[in-house]
Homo-oligomer: 417 residues x 2
């Protein structure tokens, strides 16, 4: 596959299956400058599908770093009024939104956390309205990651730059099923299987899950009316979209006050450009009461203290170790890829649709339903060949959900996959 073929296939999958762009729709793209070669391919595909306008907003991490290092301290919490303007307008109107990742995962490492904190918090606060619309699937949105030299160097530091980049293109192409004969058809089949697991888990409505693995012994209680979500969401304007490409997860949200025990990540956490390494959490009545990590703990603590609810869990996600990214065995230092490399949890906000009727609830109602509400949402992977998950039925009795990080035969049979 040439680079151009890669970009064309990727653009077709993202515009077609990821966002299902419609005639006269407006489209918003945020993309790092390092990934700019993809932009015209995607823009062209969106317009071919009849888009009315494609907004392109480039992210420049080096400019952000210059600000964090050099701007007057009192200015760091300033967010200009128009920063979310067009994105928010499109989101309200049902426009399609593509976020491209691919900046240097460690590009903001070493920034003083005293300077970084006000910046992170102010941006999160200013983004509240947009985040809430996304969390309730009000508009079609999709997150992807784009290979580029900076990211490739982090993933394959021992390879020569060109080889590292080629390898990353191959990995991403494989994970995104671009190497299939018909990538769009492959996505539809993949989606069908994950949706079957989600339906089964929703119907079954397990009371809790017990996770066991090295450093992990955790019980996650589930709220009444739990709904499991996979691949497809449906926006308020009736468009079926896939919020993450790739995605290999089936997810829901825990009861925010019923998580208990210890859990250790199996991949490093990358927090706003800083690699804090493997992290370990102690959880009491849903709250992370202790957090340790290999790297700069101040960065981790800052994320956990973003607001009052950041230390509670908002997502529980099941990913088989047979998924393409898990098979690759590579650490990508990228939220999207590392989360799809195995089962994961997120501390912070829960997606509204994780309980029945959640999308129509006010914030207070969602909280009462057990869903955590926070400006934070950070995924971390806990899946591995050594992870076991036992589900407990509300009426009593257990079910072997996953073994060695994979769906058990019992799960396959029950889901009818």
């Amino acid at each position: 596959m040439t680079r151009d073929e890669f970009f064309e296939a990727y653009a077709a999958v993202v515009a077609g299956v990821g966002l299902d762009i419609r005639p006269e729709q407006e489209v918003y793209v945020r993309i790092p400058i390092e990934a700019s070669t993809f932009t015209p391919h995607f823009v062209r595909e969106a317009y071919r599908r009849g888009a009315r306008y494609v907004h392109v907003e480039y992210q420049d991490q080096q400019a952000t770093r210059a600000r964090l290092e050099s701007a007057p301290a009192e200015s760091l919490a300033y967010v200009p009024p128009g920063v979310f303007g067009e994105r928010l307008r499109l989101a309200r109107d049902g426009g399609a939104s593509l976020a491209v990742l691919g900046e240097d995962p460690m590009g903001l490492a070493g920034i003083d956390s005293e300077r970084r904190g006000p910046w992170t918090r102010a941006l999160a606060e200013a983004g509240t309205a947009l985040r809430e619309l996304a969390m309730k699937d009000h508009f079609p949105w999709c997150v992807i990651s784009m290979p580029n030299p900076v990211w490739a160097k982090r993933v394959y530091p021992d390879l020569p730059p060109d080889e590292a980049l080629d390898r990353l293109f191959d990995s991403v192409g494989h994970a995104c099923r671009l190497d299939a004969d018909d990538p769009v058809a492959a996505w539809k089949e993949h989606s069908r299987r994950l949706m079957a697991f989600a339906r089964w888990l929703t119907d079954e409505g397990f009371g809790e899950f017990r996770y066991r693995g090295p450093g992990t012994d955790l019980v996650v209680g589930m709220p009444a009316g739990q709904r499991w979500i996979a691949t497809e969401g449906v926006s308020a304007n009736g468009i079926t979209f896939i919020a993450n490409l790739p995605t290999d997860e089936v997810f829901s949200a825990p009861d925010r006050q019923r998580v208990e025990g210890r859990v250790r990540s199996t991949r490093p956490l990358i927090l706003g450009g800083t690699n804090v390494g493997i992290a370990e959490f102690t959880v009491r009545e849903g709250r992370i009461v202790e957090a340790e990590c290999e790297g700069d703990r101040a960065v981790l603590e800052q994320e956990l203290d973003l607001d009052d609810s950041a230390r509670y869990f908002g997502e529980i996600a099941l990913v088989s170790e047979e998924a393409p990214i898990a098979e690759l065995g590579t650490v990508f230092y990228d939220g999207l890829y590392d989360e799809n490399a195995g089962c994961h949890l997120a501390f912070g906000n829960a997606y509204a649709n994780c309980v029945a009727g959640g999308g129509a609830m006010e914030e207070a109602e969602r909280r009462a339903a057990g869903l955590n509400q926070s400006m934070q949402h950070t995924d971390f992977t806990i899946g591995s060949d050594e992870l076991e998950i036992i589900a407990r039925r509300r009426g009593g009795g257990t079910f072997p959900l996953m073994r060695r990080g994979r769906w058990t035969q019992e799960s396959f049979d029950a889901a009818g996959v």
Copy 2:
């Protein structure tokens, strides 16, 4: 000079002399993705000077091209409401604005003019409020051009890419006086001389100028209260800025109805990414009644028909052939560089401050004062070693203003330079 030294010196000149960025000021930067290596240097310098926030908006010409080629025809005139939002807010508040040029000068060549027209017109209309604020120096603004591989290839097509880029960096560094011992001081001295010419021409208030050269025999009548402008402007919030870096011109505006004769450009015209080559105009009572060019005449005609006043002249600018860019003898295919390579004119809008009190006038008053008012403003160079300009005094009698494209000794003496 290493690349980093170049960028540092350029950032210091632009932030210091170009915009004179102040503490707590907001700054807006528009820059092509090809020139992104400059961004962090400038952003850092702006924050060091105490800027409150630096907005960075990247331009992607390939994405624009994809739109012009592939978007539904009826969508091409659509300009989303927020496109000028933040820039306009900053302009109204006296924020500093930097526009970086450097996209491929021929990057939009070959686009069907039927598709290009509605797009150009809609953008010009949507930008009216911003353009008016800039034309009356309401806020400090500055335009520069940044060397990059795409532009370098156009300027030096026969050199290997690396050499072409090195050469362009050298040319730009020389034209911008970055190679001076103290570039900021060099700019101040250069500015002092050009300002002296401007003061003299304003005081003298010549009635008309007669241009003679190959293909050119043109008389340009001047309005009452004419003011000549050079290098420095002063914004409504009292900041002295230099709108173009480099700049070697002293300019004013003609009486829109008193331009008569024929004029031929001495450098090619680049119109929105299309090179239409050398152009020749016949002018009657101020209006271009006939236009010819080496390249695609439809593109030129489209610009001339942008609105009812686009065929009238808005600028008359004097540049000596001793200016650094003229000396280089290179065609840069870049408005900023080619206009500072010699005397030029512009068809389209006149700057408000070209007549006394113009900045405070309403549009109708400016028009009554003789200033052309249009969405168009396109400069074209007419300077060369063969250009002669004779000024005529209102009371009668002539004055030899320029000979062989250079200020005469009589002009130097009269201006006291």
